[in-house]
Symmetry: C2
Subunit: 317 residues, 2 copies
Amino acid sequence: MIIGIDIGGTNVRALIVEPEGALVVDRRRASSSGNGPALVATIVGLVDQLVTANHDFDRLNGIGLGVAGLAGRSGTLRWSPNLPEVVEFPLGPELEEKTGLSVTMTNDASAAAWAEHQLGAGRDVDDFAMVTLGTGIGAGFVMGGRLLWGAEGYAGEVGHMLVARDGPFHHTGQQGPWEHFASGTALGRLGREAAAAGHFSVGLAMAESVDDIDGHHVGRAIAAGDPEAEGILEEFCREVALGLSNLVVVLDPSRVVLGGGLSGIGEPLRAGVERWLGEVLPGSVHRPAVEVRLAELGDDAGAIGAALLAAEATAHD
Amino acid sequence: MIIGIDIGGTNVRALIVEPEGALVVDRRRASSSGNGPALVATIVGLVDQLVTANHDFDRLNGIGLGVAGLAGRSGTLRWSPNLPEVVEFPLGPELEEKTGLSVTMTNDASAAAWAEHQLGAGRDVDDFAMVTLGTGIGAGFVMGGRLLWGAEGYAGEVGHMLVARDGPFHHTGQQGPWEHFASGTALGRLGREAAAAGHFSVGLAMAESVDDIDGHHVGRAIAAGDPEAEGILEEFCREVALGLSNLVVVLDPSRVVLGGGLSGIGEPLRAGVERWLGEVLPGSVHRPAVEVRLAELGDDAGAIGAALLAAEATAHD
C-alpha cells in the first residue's frame, strides 16, 4: 500500500492506495496552515489515521507528496505560493525520519498529470499536457509515456510563462504572465469588467456589487445559460488557448487535459478552448488538431498521482 | 556506418559517421533548391558520393535526416519555411525506396540538441535545452537523458512562442512571437533602430546605409569592441532571456545551450543572456541558476545528431 498526499494552501488531502489497480482504499483530510514542522505533524497525523484504520492491509511501502510550487525531487520544498511559511524546508527528509517510510515528492500538477495518464483523461496517449486552471495555473507533462520532471522537478510552472512582455504587472510582480490572463482570478476580473460596462447583469445580481464578482459567479451564470456569461467565457477561452499554444509549439502534445477548479465549467470551457487553440496555434493547418479534454479524476488526482509515483520509485529501490 | 543529413534552406549537408565514436569520416554538400523529387535526387546523389568514396568501410546501416520545420517522425515533411516548394512531402519513405536504407527524420534543432548531448555542450547533463539563434529561432530538448520528440516529432518550434499578445505582427502573420524579438533578423532591426537614432555609427559606416544594416554588422561591431554595438547586444540578450525564461518555467532544464549563426558572437552573447536570464526568470531566487553555454559542434551538429538518432533507431530494429 502507498499513501498519496496532496498539499494545498488550505487543506492536506491524504489517500491510501492499492497501487495494483490504483484503488483508493481510504482518505483523510486536515488543514494545511502553519510552518514546516506543523505541516510535518499534520501529515504524520494523517498517516497514523490511515494506517490505524487500515491495519489489515499489506504493509505500507511509501509516501508520495504532491505540493503546489517548487517541490524538488530531493524532497526540499523550495517555495510554495500557497504555503508562505514553508520556504526551503526539507519536507521529504523530515517525513522520512518521522515515519520510517520513503517519501517521493513532486509538484501537485505533475502528480495529477501522472494520475490522469494512468487512470484518466490521458490514459491512451503518450504525449499530453495537463493544465490546472484554478486561482493560478499549473501544469504537468507526460512525454513519450514518461513524466517530465525537469532537472529539479520544477517543470510545469506554466502560470509564469510570459505572454505579454509589455503587459500588466501580476500580483507576483511579474509583467504579463499567462496566469494574469487565464486563471480563475482572471475570469473574475473579466466578469467585473463586463459588469462595470453593463454587460453582466446576472453576475451583478448574484454578487450584489461589481467588486464582489469572482470567477465562481461567471461559472454559475454559464451553467444557467446566461448569454453575457458565455461572452465572458469566450474571451477567457481565447486567453487560455494563447498560453496553450505556447505549450504546443514547445512540447507538441497530441492532447491537452484541463483540470483544476475551473474545469468544473465543463463542456463550454473545453469546447471553447479547443476551438480557440485551433485558431491561434501557429502553423495549425500543417499539424494534427490538438484535442482538448476535461480531467477525469477530480480533486483526488494529485494525491493519487503522488501515490503512483511513490509506488514506482519504491519498486525501483 | 550511418549517413547524417542536415537539410537547410540553402544547402544540404551530408556526413558519413562511424557511430561508435561519432567520428565524421567524410562530408559532402549540395544546393537544396527545388521541390520534393528534386530534393530526393540531391540527397540520393550525396549518398552515392559518400558510399562510393568510402566503400572500404562497413556496410551502411541507415540515414538520419534533420530538417528545419515540421519534420514528422513518420518521415513526412509537413512544412518547412526554408523549403517552400516542399509541403506535405513523404521525404523519408521516398528516400527509403530509392536507397533501400531505413530513414529516420527529425527537426534539425532536435538533431543538433542530441548531438550536443552526446558529444558537445550538453554532454554532462540530463536535462537541457538547445536553442538555435539564426534567421529564426529553433530548439531541441533533452529531458531525463532522452530527446523530447513530442507526439509528431514537432517539439521545439519555440520561435513561434507568444511573448507579446498585443505586440507587433511578425512576417509569418503571428502577433508577438519570440522570433520577432530575439532572432538574427531582430538583431538587425535593433541595429537599424540604433543607427537611425544616431547610436550605431560603426554599423552605419560598415553598411553604408541604415536600411542595409543587419545582424552581421552588429556581430562584427561587437567583435571589434564597439560600445554602441555592445549596448544593442545588451538589449538583444534581454529579449533572448525573456523567451528562455518561458522554456525554463515550462521544462526546468539545468542548462541552456545556444547554437545557430548568432552563437558566433560568442562569450558576450553567452554572458549577457545568462545574466539577463537570472534577472527575468520568475522565482529565480528559489531555484538554482540556469547555466548558459555556447554550442560546441558548430555547423555539423544537425547532421551528426541525425546520424546518431538513425543509429539508435536502427539498433532497435
